[in-house]
Symmetry: C2
Subunit: 210 residues, 2 copies
Amino acid sequence: MQISKLARRSGVPVATVKFYLREGLLPPGELTGATRARYGEQHVERLGLIRALLGPGGLSVATARTVLEAVDAPATSMHQVLGTAHCTLPAVGPDVPHDLGQARELLRRHGWRVDDDSPALHALAAALEALRAAGAPPSDELLDRYAEAAGRLGEQDVADVPTGSLAEAVRFVVVNTVLLEPVLLTLRRLAHEDASRRRFPTGGDAAAAG
Amino acid sequence: MQISKLARRSGVPVATVKFYLREGLLPPGELTGATRARYGEQHVERLGLIRALLGPGGLSVATARTVLEAVDAPATSMHQVLGTAHCTLPAVGPDVPHDLGQARELLRRHGWRVDDDSPALHALAAALEALRAAGAPPSDELLDRYAEAAGRLGEQDVADVPTGSLAEAVRFVVVNTVLLEPVLLTLRRLAHEDASRRRFPTGGDAAAAG
C-alpha cells in the first residue's frame, strides 16, 4: 500500500508517518520509484507498537528507538535477549548508587536470583531508601507482601512468553513490561479507592476516623 | 535550630532549603529576628518527605506542592480527604477520553466501586487501549490476574492506614501511593528476571526456545 493508505489504516497522519521513518522508528518501505515506496501489514502493526510506546508507554523518541532496536535485534539466547530488552526499558525509578542491603535481603528471602548490575535492583534500593527518607520505612512484612504479588505476576508473565521465535518473544516482553505497568499501577489505585470507600464510608466517618 | 543546622541534619544544602522555603514546599520557621528563624523537628521530617517526592517520587516542584497541600489540608471526611490526596497525585498514564468499556467490565467482575471521574479509571482504559493498539490485546484472564494482585495489595494498604488523625492518614496515603509504586514495578521486573533465568537457562536455550 502507499503511504497515504498506510496513514489511513493506522490512524496516523502522513506527516507523522514520515517523521517516524526519518527517526528510524519505522523501517522504510519497498522502493517502487524515485519517491514512492510500498508498505505492508508489518508497517501497520509497527505503527501500532510505536504509538503505544510513545503514548501510553510514555517513552521518548530516543528511548522508543532503543526499545525497537531490542525488538529487532538478531537473537542469540532467550534469557540474554530478554535481559537486553528489559535493560533498555526506561527505569521505573532513579538509578543512582545506593545501599543494596535491604533490597538484596528481600530477594534472598524470596529465593530470587538476579544480576547485581540489574537496573531494577538499583531502582528498588533507591525506592526503599526514599521510603525511609520520607519517614515511612517499609517493614519486611510489607515488602514480602509486595514481593509475593510481583512474584506471582512475574512467574505467570514469563510462562506466557511465546517461544515460537525469539523476535516474537522479545516483542512480547517489551510490550508487556512497558504497557502492563500502567495497568498494574492504575488497578492498585482503583483498589485503594474501592477499599477506602468500604473502610471509611462517606457520612459518619470523621468520627470513626477520629 | 538554625537553618544551617537544619541543613546539616537533613543532608540538604542551605541554598536548597531556602529554595524549598521560597517555593512554599517547606513552611517558614519561627522568626527570632529580622533575618533569623528557628526550625524544629517537623522541618527535618518535612525535608525528608520533600526529597522523597522530588527524587524517587519523580514529582515536579509544582506537583509536589499540590501533594503537600493535600497532606496539609484541613480534614473533613476520611474517604473524601484520601480521595483528594489520591487525585492530586501524578497520573500513572495518559488521561484522555477513551472507551471505558473493558475497564468498567473488569472492575464489575471484581465488585469494585469507583468514581466514574476517577483519573485512575481513565488511565486504566487508556492503558488497555494501548495494549490493543500494540497488537497485544489483554485477555480477561490476564486482567483478572492483575486485578487480583492489585486488589490484595490495595485491601491491605488501606487496612494499614493509621486512623489516629486525618493528617497522618493523608500523609501515609500520599507517601505510600507514590513511593510504593516504584517498589512494585521494580519487584515485578526482578521477578521477570528471576523467572526468565529459570525458564530459559543460559546455555542450551536457543534450541529450547526454538
